[in-house]
């Protein structure tokens, strides 16, 4: 009998993302590892979720990994598709439970940068831009951020706030007029939330083999650590096999 290789860090990210989803939710999906997480959820503990996409596809039938958020797999036999304005409108309107966001930089208050490292006047590294990121982050009740941590990618303050997290912390997000907010960050370290008063990023669960020191070393600001820090149980062989054989068989997003 062949041994199933243990989950690699990307697979743990996909698994932890999938665990953020509850069955029957309406889930807003982008490309990349968020899609892997959602598809894994659908094939495991949350078979009745409804997936909605930025390009307008609503509740498509399951198929191959979409090649883009506009891929035909995102509107595969969809009962209907929405125009872009309506597609984001339903986040504001209260019809989307959870959305996922990646970003080049994520700071201690969960603000995300997908616009520019440096500034538009003095560009160090130009990124594609908000796309639907700002809309999702501004309007969705609960968003989950995902990123591979390093001190550069997780700085104290992002160079450019593309997608709002808790802005300057405290009640600054609410004061700005925004709704909802990020509830978790999933990285190779484990899972973070945001401390309710300060809104600072806080480690709440660690992946197997990770330590608080390792998580802190991969972060460019002082991490808060939850009193009841959990250790995440590695995914079962069944789940890993679904992830590797069904969800991302070509290993596009889950292999190094």
């Amino acid at each position: 009998m062949t041994q199933t290789a243990p989950a690699n860090p990307l697979e743990m990210v996909a698994y932890n993302l999938s665990r953020q989803i509850e069955d029957n939710q309406i889930v807003y999906i982008g490309t990349g590892i968020p899609m892997v997480g959602a598809l894994l959820a659908k094939k495991t503990h949350a078979p009745n979720i409804t997936m909605v996409f930025e390009s307008g596809g609503q509740d498509p039938l399951e198929g191959d990994m979409p090649w883009s958020v506009g891929c035909p797999f995102t509107y595969r036999k969809s009962p209907m598709s929405m125009e872009m304005a309506a597609s984001f409108g339903q986040c504001s309107l209260g019809y989307v439970d959870i959305a996922f966001q990646g970003g080049a930089q994520i700071d201690m208050y969960g603000n995300v940068n997908t616009s520019v490292i440096g500034s538009y006047e003095q560009v160090k590294s130009l990124l594609p831009g908000s796309g639907g990121g700002n809309d999702i982050g501004s309007l969705t009740d609960r968003s989950v951020l995902v990123g591979l941590q390093s001190p550069e990618r997780f700085p104290e303050k992002v160079d450019f706030i593309t997608t709002p997290g808790y802005l300057d912390g405290g009640d600054s997000r609410e004061k700005a007029g925004l709704m909802g907010g990020p509830v978790a960050v999933v990285t190779q370290s484990g899972i973070f939330d945001f401390e309710p008063e300060s809104k600072r990023m806080r480690l709440v669960a660690m992946n197997p083999g990770m330590t608080v020191e390792m998580a802190q070393m991969a972060t460019g600001f002082e991490l808060l650590v939850a009193d009841n820090l959990q250790e995440i149980e590695a995914p079962s062989t069944d789940i890993l096999e679904i992830l590797r054989n069904d969800v991302d068989p070509r290993g596009v997003f889950i292999s190094f």
Partner: protein
């Protein structure tokens, strides 16, 4: 305001509600046969200095072959806008465009567009305003609704809003939640080209699959060119009340099978994935390679048929057709393979 490339007139015209309304009032409403070849449509209706809105989803039902004709005709001083707007990078690198209102430029998981990066870093083009997809969609939707602006809660608190001179923030004057809202003005690009699956000779056009921003853009833009996979009879469109776009919004109709290649077109053909990967991963990092890439594919191709020959002719088209049918589950997708040789950066 001062700009590197754009004019004050171009900047103001985007939000000129009264001007757009007057233009629409004066537009010829005659129900006439508006069919013409692509070169004529581009020559007559895309003018130097136009604000050009991208349509479709950049590589999904996007009028790419028409964009390449714009490049071949050497149109200049265009201003780009759209959600998304990945082709504006190529308008910029071919010298057609030096100013954009930016929401997203890139090919998602294919990699970052290094050409766009280089152009902005070297100040060969400028970003006039920064947006998100949803806020720009609101702007086009406001125009379609005939509203001066739409109030929204996107963009608040972010650096996008401080890099967007068009959007204003006020305290919400209605209802119980009087926290700030942002006001997104109605947006009026000069011209858009919309690729549809079916249109009649008058311009009634049918969009299949996600409309993205095209319903709003067809109403907002001063000039609208329709490129259609198929021209059908007016009766066929009347039969099902099928039109997404009414003929009086439309200035020109071009019969344009395969007009969305090398992107995909719902109901017709899948992407040429290797083409995009080659472009983004191999060509965009190197200015000379990019020039050669566009010379081969765009400047040395007369029309979409020559383009298709270079993609692999009928063999390519056959596969692309079946892949789209399978992706949309019009046929059993276990009959079709999506395997391909991924183009990796060297």
């Amino acid at each position: 305001m001062s700009f590197l490339f754009a004019t004050e007139a171009q900047f103001q015209r985007l939000v000129d509600f009264e001007g757009a309304r007057r233009h629409h009032l004066e537009k010829d409403r005659t129900k006439k046969d508006k069919r013409m070849p692509l070169p004529e449509a581009v020559d007559r209706f895309v003018q130097d200095g136009d604000i050009l809105a991208e349509t479709g989803f950049s590589y999904v039902r996007a009028p790419l072959q028409a964009y390449y004709e714009i490049m071949r005709q050497g149109k200049k001083d265009l201003v780009g806008i759209g959600s998304p707007m990945s082709n504006c990078s190529f308008f910029m690198s071919t010298g057609c465009m030096h100013s954009i209102h930016q929401s997203y430029i890139g090919v998602e998981m294919r990699g970052n567009d290094k050409s766009f990066s280089r152009i902005i870093k070297n100040k060969k083009a400028e970003i006039l305003s920064v947006w998100s997809h949803g806020s720009m969609a609101q702007g086009f939707k406001a125009a379609q609704l005939g509203a001066p602006f739409i109030a929204s809660r996107q963009l608040l608190g972010t650096d996008i809003i401080s890099n967007n001179p068009y959007v204003k923030v006020i305290d919400n004057p209605v209802g119980n939640d009087n926290r700030p809202v942002c006001l997104i003005p109605a947006l009026f690009p000069d011209v858009c080209i919309i690729h549809v699956q079916k249109a009649d000779r008058y311009g009634n056009a049918v969009i299949e699959g996600p409309a993205i921003n095209d319903l709003a853009l067809s109403a907002a833009c001063r000039k609208v060119i329709i490129t259609a996979e198929k021209i059908v009879s007016e009766q066929a469109i009347r039969e099902n009340s099928a039109a997404s776009i009414p003929f009086w919004y439309v200035d020109a109709v071009v019969e344009m099978p395969y007009g969305a290649l090398p992107g995909c077109c719902p109901g017709h053909y899948y992407w040429a994935r290797e083409w995009w990967e080659e472009l983004v991963r191999i060509a965009t990092p190197d200015e000379e390679k990019l020039k050669q890439y566009f010379k081969h594919w765009i400047y040395d191709s007369k029309d979409q048929y020559e383009f298709i020959e270079k993609l692999g002719g009928i063999r390519f088209l056959d596969e692309a057709r079946r892949q789209m049918e399978a992706a949309q589950l019009f046929i059993d997708d276990s009959l079709v393979s999506f395997d391909y040789e991924e183009v990796k950066p060297s």
